[in-house]
Subunit: 440 residues, 2 copies
């Protein structure tokens, strides 16, 4: 193979790692300068970032922006959002302000139960397994008390413990299915510690007191699928509130077309994926800003979107007698303490900006931001099209890519004032400007 | 409501936005200092970040680390990864090195077609619609030539154009389904520009030449569901290669238990979500590092995981005659030019570190990183458990949270050298250390 496997890479210092890259011609001077130029000047803060994950060589910047005017259950909040996608924050802000003037977002946490599984195989009969489990269940719960005590003080702990068979597709496979409350934490480390300890005890108790048979623990781990840790959020109003939105449509027409667009997302997976992606544009931006884990939220939400056998929209519209109601229901496991949320200096700032929400309030904020993003995307799609707003936001980036001068940029911006921006058009426009004004 | 809706927020300067927050007591001096302290000192670079998305007040740092030793289709690469989750990069690196010594990752791009949709309602008959479409199809394609010309020069363009009915659930709803090649770009803006232009032409042509009937365009937008833009990646070898991995297991036993764990993820959605989440831990870290859009990749991959009616594992294991084969198949729409990839200084550095891959090679790298993450997670889960490695990586963060001194940290680190770390145990250990050594 070209090149050689490197051993002990993780033990190299940051600059040794980068020197190794340069020696292989995988790092220009300019790129090296960028990596070095993105370190935090305060060594203590830089040290925090270097401990978050491994083999650290720089800090990747993502813009942190603010979406004000989120009225959620009567509380007005400014939502911190981290995203690299242009127009997401602008769109969420527009929707938030519109709905703040019409009653705001109504959010309700429908459950906060998380869960984990101890997967195992058992060579004996299912009936004997159930009997043995009934006998040792209390001991299993006691075995994790040293871990759960602190969580119980905060209102959390193990909620239930049951045994489940995997069914005919996987005969002999079972699981201990454990549900948890994790208070203000997302709880992944807590749940995994409980499960691993309980699995060890389960194995030894079955040997000691079980009916005879071979039990093999496959693995013990939390599930990121948390349909019982779920939030619903909706906005509602008379369709007349949409009258001023679009000059060419009545509010009633807007609402009907909006509902048609959501219906397409409910029935067509190709559209549903993009529709829900737009919801996650908003949700993930808050998840990132608060130091939560967007992979967990994404995996859970999309699996929930497929729960009825066909991948479908997470949001829904009801329209009757001139009343419009737009809602989003999604599972969300988030925390306001623990993990990166506690460690990351800007996650702390984000929680301050949000007004120090509880974990349940944060679920509501995340859902409201997702619903706001969805509302704005649909509003653009069914009226001017997504490109007008999005590409206007993106024009600065295009001008930068084209290396347009300030004068050229102003000419191009003015050309696009009432037109949809496209890279191709911006580029050929720039060319013609330059042909007309050749450099002296 | 408490507080007032703010108007014109986006027009405030950065410092005016923050002053407004402080006036509402939503920003402490310490948090303000953090927001200010994370700006880039070079105003030109800071300007880039401020144009990426809106209402920017700071840069959110995510650690950028390196996973070396990824041998993919015979090319040895170092993979840049951006993640806030501890142990993801270490785990990917371990798996990469192991497989580099056993033939590496074998990846194959199975297709690169992207797609978009023009959704509309039509009041006339389906047959007449089909006839009219056949008549105007060429004109529709011609109408977007000014947009597609540049893309065609790079090997892309519109691949096909067809009409689809939404079926009995949504009678009268149809779509123009358009497939695209987008060369080295992810292509979202290109696709949306083509669709919006074509939709306008479709509407006017149907009025002009159509059979009579009301056509209403609902919306025109790319689909993030790209099952025909897909990559497969696998590793394989004799099970004896696992013999040295775990002292208490033969390679054959390891492979069998590994397969059992994957089987559980195939048949149990609660496990599948977490299993796939682990795959995305690796994939998203590369997506972020290269300036691609992780919401698009997530939505598409998870919908693909549910395509057969039940949410299931994206990876699979085959084991026969002592031969082990572990594979991942997933749709992935990524680009190496355009959007944030071109603008973000560190996305540029990431592509350099990767050796300037094509978009198809980047698909292979992303898939290999996902498979590596999945391999390492399963390896830990079926042997020592996930917590030992993960919590060891996380111990530094815990010690920081507990405000342990260097001497205390060293004592606690030494205690956990051969034990699984838990926050509870670290905390009570620190308490007992402090009780034994009260401050003078």
């Amino acid at each position: 193979m070209p090149g050689h496997i490197i051993h002990g890479f993780s033990k190299l210092s940051r600059s040794e790692k980068l020197t190794w890259l340069r020696d292989q011609e995988k790092l220009s001077e300019a790129a090296l300068a960028h990596l070095n130029g993105h370190l935090h000047p305060d060594p203590k803060l830089q040290g925090i970032y270097e401990e978050i994950s491994e083999n650290n060589v720089s800090n990747y910047y993502l813009p942190l922006g603010l979406a004000p005017n989120f009225l959620i259950n009567g509380i007005l909040r400014t939502v911190p959002m981290v995203t690299e996608e242009s127009s997401v924050i602008a769109a969420a802000s527009h929707a938030a302000k519109f709905w703040a003037m019409h009653g705001g977002f109504h959010a309700e946490v429908l459950g906060i139960l998380k869960n984990g599984q101890i997967h195992f195989t058992w060579s004996g009969s299912e009936r004997e397994l159930h009997n043995a489990f009934a006998m040792i269940k209390e001991e299993l719960l006691q075995s994790v008390e040293s871990i759960t005590r602190r969580m119980e003080e905060r209102g959390g702990g193990v909620e239930s413990l049951e045994i489940r068979a995997m069914g005919p597709a996987l005969a002999g496979f079972y699981q201990l299915f454990v549900t948890f409350r994790t208070a203000e934490a997302m709880g992944a480390n807590f749940i995994n510690s409980v499960l691993e300890t309980m699995a060890g005890k389960f194995s030894s108790l079955m040997k000691e007191k079980g009916p005879g048979g071979i039990l093999e623990i496959i693995m013990s781990i939390l599930s990121n699928y948390t349909p019982d840790c779920r939030v619903n959020c909706h906005v509602e109003g008379d369709t007349h509130i949409f009258d001023p939105l679009v000059p060419t449509m009545t509010g009633e027409e807007f609402a009907r077309k909006f509902m048609n667009a959501v219906q397409v997302a409910i029935h067509d997976p190709y559209r549903a994926v993009t529709h829900n992606k737009g919801i996650f544009n908003g949700m993930d931006a808050v998840i990132l800003a608060t130091g939560n884990d967007f992979r967990a939220v994404e995996a859970c939400g999309h699996a929930f979107a497929s729960r009825n056998g066909t991948y479908s929209s997470l949001s829904n519209v009801e329209l009757s007698n001139g009343q419009f109601r737009f809602s989003l229901e999604t599972p969300l496991a988030v925390g306001t303490i623990g993990g990166t949320t506690t460690i990351h200096p800007l996650a702390g700032a984000s929680l301050e900006i949000l007004g120090h929400p509880t974990a349940e309030q944060l679920m509501e904020v995340v859902a409201a931001t997702g619903l706001a993003s969805n509302f704005s995307a649909l509003r653009s799609l069914i009226t001017t099209g997504i490109q007008r707003g999005h590409m206007k936001m993106h024009l600065g980036n295009i001008l930068r890519q084209l290396k347009a001068t300030p004068v050229e940029s102003e000419m191009i911006r003015s050309h696009f004032r009432d037109r949809t921006v496209s890279y191709a058009e911006a580029s050929s426009l720039l060319e013609s400007i330059r042909n007309q004004n050749p450099k002296q």
